[in-house]
Structure formats: structure tokens, C-alpha cells
């Protein structure tokens, strides 16, 4: 009984430490620090834990970023999910609402995503986490295009896989370079342009599309 309670406490404590460190890393990144220049000392001081505790839960600083990245990437993939499963012709407003939701989620987590992009240029395992997000999104969009073509609401001329690949790389880089650093007004214009671009690229010229 006592052992079980202790074990539970330990696993709860582990989750708590993880949350504290993730929050600390986010705060430091948001205040303008580059991930590559953050030290473990800064991280543990911000989180209010000891160095020893850090090393008990993470082997490297890269481990911590990977945990952060998986969290954010999971949320982004999740928010795009309903889009992939549309069974009927969407309206431009519905597409725009989905794009706004994804873009706002990206913007809220921009510090982590910028660190992921920065570190992925030299850290293979972080690069793999980012590639996982991109490839997962390409697979989802490819399926959506092919399905929409068979239902008549996506342009039948498009090559599903190649179109999805171009559009996903466009979105990934544009979110990082255009949406991430912009204030609300500029962001609204960039996100609006993305939504209209995707609408035009995929749906506007489809035979089953009701033109408004």
C-alpha cells in the first residue's frame, strides 16, 4: 500500500517537474532567448528546481525541446484533423475558420516552434520531430485531396501527393516566417491570404463547387 502510494507520488512529481520545465523554457523563449544559447542553469532557475532534478528527468537540453515540440506538434495535428475528414464540399468561410484556428495555435506556440526550426538545422532528432509533423500533414492533405476529387469538390486536375507536399511546405515555412513574428493586424492579412490561397488552389475550380 505504502509503496504504491509512493510510486504514484513519484510519477505525479515527474509530471509536475516536466510541466515546470516546459513552462520555464517557454517563458525564456518568449522573452527572446535563443534556444541554442539557453543554459541548463537558466532553465532550472526559471523553473525553481535543482540541477540534479533536471538531470533526473532529461538527459540533454535537446530532450527538453523534443518534449516541448511533441506537445505543440500534437496539438497542431489535432486541430487540422477535422479538415481531413470533411465529407462534403466546404464553404470558403469554413476553410478560413480552420486556417485561423491552426494559425492562432501556431502563433501562441511560436517561441517553441521557432526553437524547433532553429535547432533542427543542426540537431537530427529535433529535425525528425519537425519532419514527422510535416509528413503527417502531407499524408492527411493528400488523402483529403483525393477524397474531395472523388466527391467532386476538389479540382480534379491536381496531383494529390505533389500538391499536398507543396502546400504543406508553404504553410510550415509561412507560419514560421510570416505568421509567427507578426502582430494581430498583419497576422490577419497573412492568415486571410493563406486561407484564400488554399481555397483557390483546391476548391474554387472544382466542378461540384457552388460559386458565390
Amino acid at each position: 500500500m505504502a509503496t504504491r502510494a509512493n510510486r504514484r507520488t513519484r510519477s505525479e512529481r515527474r509530471d509536475e517537474i516536466r510541466r515546470q520545465l516546459l513552462a520555464a523554457a517557454e517563458q525564456l523563449l518568449e522573452s527572446g532567448h535563443r534556444y541554442s544559447e539557453l543554459t541548463i542553469d537558466q532553465l532550472v532557475r526559471q523553473a525553481g528546481i535543482s540541477r540534479a532534478t533536471f538531470w533526473a528527468y532529461f538527459e540533454t537540453k535537446g530532450d527538453l525541446l523534443r518534449a516541448l515540440a511533441e506537445d505543440v506538434i500534437g496539438q497542431l495535428l489535432h486541430s487540422a484533423e477535422p479538415w481531413w475528414h470533411l465529407a462534403q464540399a466546404p464553404t470558403e468561410d469554413a476553410i478560413a475558420a480552420t486556417i485561423v484556428r491552426i494559425a492562432e495555435m501556431y502563433h501562441a506556440n511560436r517561441a517553441v516552434m521557432a526553437a524547433v526550426v532553429e535547432v533542427s538545422s543542426y540537431d537530427e532528432s529535433v529535425k525528425q520531430a519537425l519532419d514527422g509533423l510535416v509528413q503527417g500533414t502531407i499524408a492527411g492533405l493528400t488523402e483529403h485531396i483525393a477524397d474531395g476529387q472523388s466527391r467532386g469538390f476538389v479540382d480534379p486536375q491536381l496531383d494529390p501527393r505533389r500538391t499536398a507536399a507543396w502546400l504543406v511546405w508553404m504553410s510550415e515555412r509561412g507560419l514560421y516566417r510570416l505568421v509567427g513574428p507578426s502582430g494581430p493586424q498583419k497576422r490577419r492579412r497573412y492568415v486571410g491570404a493563406l486561407a484564400h490561397s488554399l481555397w483557390n488552389a483546391l476548391y474554387a475550380t472544382a466542378p461540384g463547387q457552388v460559386r458565390n
Partner: protein, 215 residues
């Protein structure tokens, strides 16, 4: 007389430096092909591959980023010029004409993609490289936005497109898409990717223009 004497060597020196940069960059490309990333590459590996001495490298370049910067400044103008056919077209072009223009623009980039990808990666770590790559991106966005505005005023581009913002998304699509997908690509796959890129850009900008959509 004094002036021409002191000036000519400076020009020669700059020319020699650029020539030397070209030679070193070939070695960088070979190392990239061998599977070594630019971030992991050392100057020792680089000079060994190029068959030159370390000291000669450091006479001309501060570090490997300085070399990449020198190379990029040289090629940026050529890359920008490669897209002129697309931007300067002033008629209601058809899809075939757009395919030719985009094919021409992307074929300017194609042989340089491994180094360009390394350059854009290095931009996250080196401020001078960041400034130059951003400069090329900004000029490209400005030229494409101008093309979009011209097409909108003449009725062959969708008036609902935001010129600068849409141009920015398209330029990043081209940059990132090429860096990620064109590294080791067959000619046949390259052609199909250019077809696909053309279809996307055609739909985004031209297909729904008021002068084109059937009533």
C-alpha cells in the same frame, strides 16, 4: 597614376577571392553529397576536400559562414533574374505560358539547391546570411506582388487576392518546397513537381479571375 595603381590590385584581390570562393563551394557541395551537413562541416574538412591550405582559406574568409555569404551574394542576382519571364508577362497568360515561366524560374534554382538549403539553414545562426537571404526573399516578394497588382488591374488575376501577402506565401512555398523536395530528384520527378507547382499557382492567382471564369 597612384590611384590606378592602388585600385587595380584591390579589384584583382576581390576577383581572386570570388574565384577562390567558387572553388571552395564546389568542395562544400561534394561534402554535402557525401552526407555531411553544413552545420557539422569543419574548415579542415573543407580545405582538405578542396586541396588548399588552411592558411589560404583564412586569408580570404573569416569562417565557413563568411564563405557561404560570399557565394550567396554572387548568386542572388542571378536567381532573381531567372524569374523575370514570369513577372514581366503583361498579358492574360494561359497555363502553358505560366508553366514555361515557372519552369524557367525553378531551373535557375535547381543546380544550386543543396547550397541554397544550407544557406537558408545557416541564416538561423548567422546574422549576415540572414540579412542577405531575407533581401532576396523580399525582392522576390515585391516583384511577384507587382505582377499580381498588374494582373488584377487588367482583370486576369483574382481581385480577391492580397498581393503582397499572397506573394509571400508563394515565395516561401518555392523556397522551402525546393529545399526539401528537390535535393535528390530525377528529371522526370522534377518536371512533375513543376507541373504541380504550376497548377497550384494557376489556381491561386489566375483561374478565378473575372476575365476568365465562365458566367
Amino acid at each position: 597614376l597612384t590611384r590606378s595603381l592602388t585600385r587595380r590590385p584591390a579589384v584583382d584581390r576581390e576577383a581572386r577571392r570570388e574565384e577562390f570562393a567558387a572553388q571552395l563551394v564546389t568542395a562544400v557541395e561534394e561534402l554535402l553529397r557525401d552526407g555531411l551537413s553544413f552545420s557539422a562541416m569543419t574548415v579542415d574538412q573543407l580545405v582538405a576536400k578542396a586541396g588548399v591550405s588552411r592558411s589560404k582559406f583564412y586569408v580570404h574568409f573569416r569562417d565557413k559562414h563568411d564563405l557561404l555569404h560570399t557565394w550567396f551574394v554572387q548568386v542572388a542576382r542571378e536567381l532573381h533574374a531567372g524569374s523575370q519571364r514570369w513577372w514581366s508577362s503583361t498579358g492574360a497568360e494561359d497555363r502553358d505560358a505560366l508553366r514555361v515561366a515557372i519552369g524557367e524560374a525553378l531551373s535557375t534554382y535547381r543546380p544550386k539547391i543543396p547550397l541554397l538549403a544550407a544557406t537558408f539553414d545557416a541564416a538561423t545562426l548567422d546574422d549576415r546570411i540572414a540579412e542577405e537571404t531575407q533581401g532576396l526573399i523580399d525582392r522576390t516578394i515585391a516583384s511577384l506582388a507587382k505582377h499580381i497588382r498588374a494582373g488584377q488591374s487588367r482583370g486576369w488575376i483574382d481581385p480577391g487576392v492580397l498581393p503582397t501577402e499572397t506573394a509571400a506565401w508563394i515565395v516561401w512555398m518555392a523556397e522551402r518546397g525546393q529545399a526539401q523536395m528537390f535535393q535528390e530528384i530525377t528529371d522526370r520527378e522534377w518536371e512533375r513537381m513543376v507541373d504541380s507547382c504550376t497548377d497550384i499557382v494557376w489556381n491561386m492567382l489566375y483561374a478565378t479571375a473575372p476575365g476568365r471564369v465562365p458566367p
